[in-house]
Point group: C2
Chain length 191, copies 2
DNA sequence: GTCTATAAATTGATAGAC
DNA sequence: GTCTATCAATTTATAGAC
């Protein structure tokens, strides 16, 4: 029995595309590259998506939806700001790992097209919400006084986001190790 | 008197190219894009460089040379590891800002070509040197016990590197503000 | 859902004049 | 140092058959 050749739907195609886009960059990946990796032809790919840019757009939305969902969790809404912040940090790291290819894609987007611009806008909205949490936690006196909320948010989430560059699930480093290391640094900011 | 049109040499061309490569990505920038931005033709650009990839290579070397030079500074070689580490952190941030377009370029490279691979190799060498400093500072008992040197190095320098995404000189945030905020986080790791 | 064939535009790069 | 003209290869995308 010859092994049945992989057949794709939009979902499975997207999974491969996000991975390749992340490895070589979106602009550095041609539809021909994608055809080689998937083992189907360019034409077949166009059966599943209208354009290369649509493939990107779907991937970006997936990452953004997962990130925004963190704010809808109960622990993001109740309690002291510093605890809500710790929860958002923890869950952001977990979402980043769970949706690694899509979040990687998001973090590499430059705004070259309308699709990319839209994603950047949504991402800025997310950043603003996190920044408000930092501001509140500092105002509560639970983080060191004198910290700049905007600057601190950028550094802490820049740190978190940078993990897409090297972290891979099923390495010796578990997600909990990663969350722990990030929270250790955040907790260094407590008064 | 009509204003004399800009004339380029390799240096001034590189400055523009690094900027545009950073904004749109290397693969997302065509020679035609570069021609439009510089106001000269593609042919004229090829008078200054042999290829688009050479333009990238020169920019990457500029960033890497500046970063490695930090380790040759006296303060990187004398004293306790934790103090040498703080100096490398401070100076890396300063170099990053001083050579912002070139360092941005470096941090976006994916390894798609031999030129990019070479740059990634040099960058890994830099990371290893920093990691050794973290390990030494932890062994000295000057950073919290239990910190993983490799993980901590990745997070802290991921944080530093992420600043290329948003920091711009001559904003209200001075380089010293930025260095201060980064060192505040690093100092949160001291025992 | 996948294929072959092909179009239309863009891309990196060169030749040779001023 | 810059230009016009041009090329060969690649790129995104479509038409139509199986």
């Amino acid at each position: 029995m010859t092994p049945a050749r992989q057949r794709y739907d939009q979902e499975s195609l997207l999974a491969v595309a996000a991975q390749v886009f992340t490895e070589r960059g979106y602009d550095g990946t041609s539809m021909e590259d994608l055809a080689k990796v998937t083992g189907i032809t360019k034409s077949s790919i166009y059966h599943h998506v209208q354009s290369k840019e649509e493939l990107l757009g779907i991937g970006l939305d997936r990452a953004l939806d997962a990130l925004f969902a963190v704010f809808d969790e109960p622990a993001s809404m109740d309690g002291k700001a510093v605890e809500r912040l710790r929860h958002v940090v923890r869950r952001t790291v977990e979402v980043l790992v769970a949706e690694l290819p899509y979040v990687s894609l998001l973090l590499r987007v430059r705004g070259n097209t309308a699709t990319e611009q839209r994603a950047l806008d949504r991402r800025r909205t997310f950043d603003r919400a996190v920044r408000a949490l930092f501001a509140e936690a500092i105002a509560d006196g639970d983080l060191r006084a004198g910290l700049d909320p905007a600057l601190t948010e950028r550094l802490v989430f820049g740190m978190i986001n940078s993990t897409v560059e090297w972290y891979r699930p099923r390495s010796e480093i578990t997600v909990d190790d990663l969350v722990g290391a990030v929270l250790a640094i955040v907790d260094g900011l407590r008064r």
